[in-house]
Symmetry: C2
Amino acid sequence: MGSISEQTVSNKQVTLKEYANEGCPKESNLLVSTSLIKLKVPEGTDGVLIKNLYLSCDPYIRVLLQEEREPGHPFAPFELGSVINGLGVGKVVGSGHPQLKIGDFVWGMNGWEEYTLIPTPTQSLVKIHHSDLPLSYHAGILGMTGMTAYVGLYEIGAPKKGDYVFVSAASGATGHLVGQLSKLAGCYMVGSAGSKEKVDLLKSKFGFDEAFNYNEEKDLDAAFKRYFPEGIDIYFDNVAGKMLDAVLLNMKYQGRVVMCGVTSHYTSSKIDCGIFNSNQVILKSIRMQGYVVSDYYHLLPKYLEMVIPNIKQGKIVYAEDIADGLESAPAALVGLYKGRNVGKQVIKIANE
Amino acid sequence: MGSISEQTVSNKQVTLKEYANEGCPKESNLLVSTSLIKLKVPEGTDGVLIKNLYLSCDPYIRVLLQEEREPGHPFAPFELGSVINGLGVGKVVGSGHPQLKIGDFVWGMNGWEEYTLIPTPTQSLVKIHHSDLPLSYHAGILGMTGMTAYVGLYEIGAPKKGDYVFVSAASGATGHLVGQLSKLAGCYMVGSAGSKEKVDLLKSKFGFDEAFNYNEEKDLDAAFKRYFPEGIDIYFDNVAGKMLDAVLLNMKYQGRVVMCGVTSHYTSSKIDCGIFNSNQVILKSIRMQGYVVSDYYHLLPKYLEMVIPNIKQGKIVYAEDIADGLESAPAALVGLYKGRNVGKQVIKIANE
């Protein structure tokens, strides 16, 4: 009889059935099916076998579901029939790696499936150190999502006390954290979202000074003049397109635009609107800067040291939107682009 | 008989006759006329009276000739009938200021006229220290234009040896200096210009590695793929619009876009094309940054120390395009937007 690490078991998976080249991805672009996996790390390798517990459902996945791409795009699309790759939290159930042992919890890049074999874990996995907080938090606020908000706001945006900060997609995974981190930094904080319910939550639960429903603003420029009569110091941009264009007209001198996301680009093959106000960048000495959060992972310990006590003391409220089971993954992903989630969309795969 | 400082003399001036709201400014937007000026600084003030010698003819003046402007524009237009303000070089012929005496040469903000009374010279004038180089150079390479190239390239662009650098409007006042400063920094340098003659000059006289005529490139993206098969580290942008949009597709990871000018915006009331590739800024961690050169004037001594020996040793070739007399000013200004000048357009007003 072999040990558990030599068993062959069924492995439910979410694979790419059809590329989503036009418009919003549909559930039918993905397929939930079952294959077999040998619960064994190949002899002589330092691979690890992960039992996946929580998946992080992220807007950027849209880009990888699209086969067509402009020249110079740095990321290749998923292959048809392949398992969707993404971030998640899992438990080590087999290991040839000296620093990861069976029973350890990790977060990082894995697959949308029950078990994933990771051949070179040092590139992609972070070992989780116990913190009393739910394990699922490492698929969000204590992982890539939290770092995205932290790095974008603090490293790129460089907030000063009293700065006027605006974030779009403010009730989303990154947005609701950006708002709270800005308040901790002593900034005046306004967010935009796509429904009255979300706007209410921003003000009542997440501590935003003001919030508005962009669907109710026919003239975005007028909205910014109303909410920021003195102008905007930092714009944390999750949507790009016409929102960014209107913000540029309302930036203050030496303002910073944190280029984080392009939601307006995710639901159609073309961005909703070009940027016509780029001359504002010159006139006002504006800095617009993109970043890839993994370039800043060396700051993770510093971030966790700051954020964990703030969560425990209730100074940062983290909203999770947890879907249950791999079967729910396609709908959860599509929901991101329909604005269905509040806070971080996570998919629970298995009990710890 | 009064001394020279109490004489009343005729003062030829260029004034705004009509706003240039649509398209390229025309000579008829400006009027050359003559008024009278008392060659005397008002008693008890620290004003100075300048005899203007050279005027700097700069593309940004377009913005001030336009009455209509988008909300949030930081600069007010010229008033109808007022003297055109701009940068220039002059000689002090009257002074109530302790640091400026009669006979001193200065550069800074003055008027398009023979004599200008400047009430608060500390805000706007820089005293010229003798350098053996022509006085007119302080209306260009040794003044604002040179600092624009230097600050944009070195402070914002941060070139490293071996970087691939592209500059648009490369044969213009700023562009031809950016190219030569990039070569001094050990970069590979490509420029674009609007005629075969200019392209030839870039390669034969200004030391560019490559140059192309943008009018002959139907597909700008393909042109960049040809000239920069490895991508672009620094784009020094003098034109914005569709050139910038195509460059974004060809930037390297962590590339920098120095946002300096918007020529495409100067000759029409709307920019020629929006930026649709802003997602590249995120995917490639690009920094796009505007600047106002006067924020960096504390670096002027450092810049002069570097650039003057390079000019004297022939390592930097400075091209001046000198028009003679105030009467030539309207045509010289319009010529900027027609691409008539090579290098720095200067207007000579009087002999030293």
